[in-house]
Subunit: 140 residues, 3 copies
């Protein structure tokens, strides 16, 4: 049984959806030693999140941002948690709708993803700053 | 420590929500050898997804389809990713709202689910075709 | 390799979002024996769910309840699964939008969460009753 874990800090990203698969892979080269296993990426924040989606056409990521802004609007009249700005409470809700982690199968030292799948950092704040990830891989 | 992994291909399913618990269990009989562990089912696509929900009344799955179509409509005026048809961009968003995987506890060689819980394949495309799953089980 | 698993029953909670991090930690003291690993909390129900979000300001949890009630309303005209009351079908949909489990990294015998992160029990029914959790921790 092998168990690897590392933490990385991502540079501040603009509000929106960003592909980070390559950054995750660079951070954990020990993945190559796992024949069968799993990799988890966990984000240590409540106003940014992670998901898996289409890795090719940038308009997909633009449409994600547009739709999440519609589905979870700023300045909803029922928000009480408004002290940290209009983008804060929607960011918390979006983070839970997406997720704080992704868990991926590992096969023969590689992520076993579909050809169109990539890992998204979902930055829900206007100025979210640097974001910290815990990356854990294990298997045999 | 035991680690098992297999891939299966599901036959094309109609747009909507479908119970696949039995297909997952058939694919990984080694589950019976795990006393304490986990099972993950991962879908290698970005326009279909997996979730856990009610396994008895088919109207629950019909209502899921109705509600997701309302919450993530086709032909929203702000979509830019429209080349692959009106059902494509909503499918990507629905897939991230639900999830690309489910992870379940394993106890005494069985999935340790609640009595009403089952695994859903969520097919978000009109003609999604066959869908591939990676099933990983591990434990002691 | 270490593998621990336990089940706990939470006392009935009012409809809404509740911090349960301390209850999870109390249930699995063996966590202290894991240097690098993961902890999963799984809820054995389809009308309540788990998520990770802000652990400080109670208004965040109130706003979650308000927003989910807007995004997944009761008495939508297209619901067919209505026999168990107006809060039932929305509860199923909310449970899948959030999730039936959370998986957290473990580092040096502790949950490796961000400073503002806590585990929420999301009770989507008016009278959901007691809720059962399976807690699984493993690592080296």
């Amino acid at each position: 049984m092998k168990f690897f874990q590392t933490e990385i800090s991502l540079e501040p990203a603009s509000r929106g959806f960003h592909l980070i698969t390559h950054k995750v892979l660079e951070a954990i080269p020990e993945l190559h030693d796992i024949r069968v296993g799993q990799l988890q990426v966990f984000i240590k924040h409540t106003s940014a999140s992670l998901t898996i989606n289409e890795n090719a056409d940038p308009t997909v990521r633009i449409d994600f941002e547009s739709h999440f802004n519609k589905m979870v609007p700023e300045n909803a009249p029922y928000y009480k948690h408004t002290l940290e700005g209009p983008d804060d409470m929607p960011a918390h809700i979006k983070a839970s709708l997406l997720d704080s982690s992704v868990t991926l199968p590992v096969t023969n030292g590689q992520l076993n993803l579909g050809i169109w799948q990539g890992i998204y950092l979902c930055e829900h704040r206007d100025h979210g700053g640097s974001r910290n990830l815990v990356i854990t891989a294990f298997g045999i």
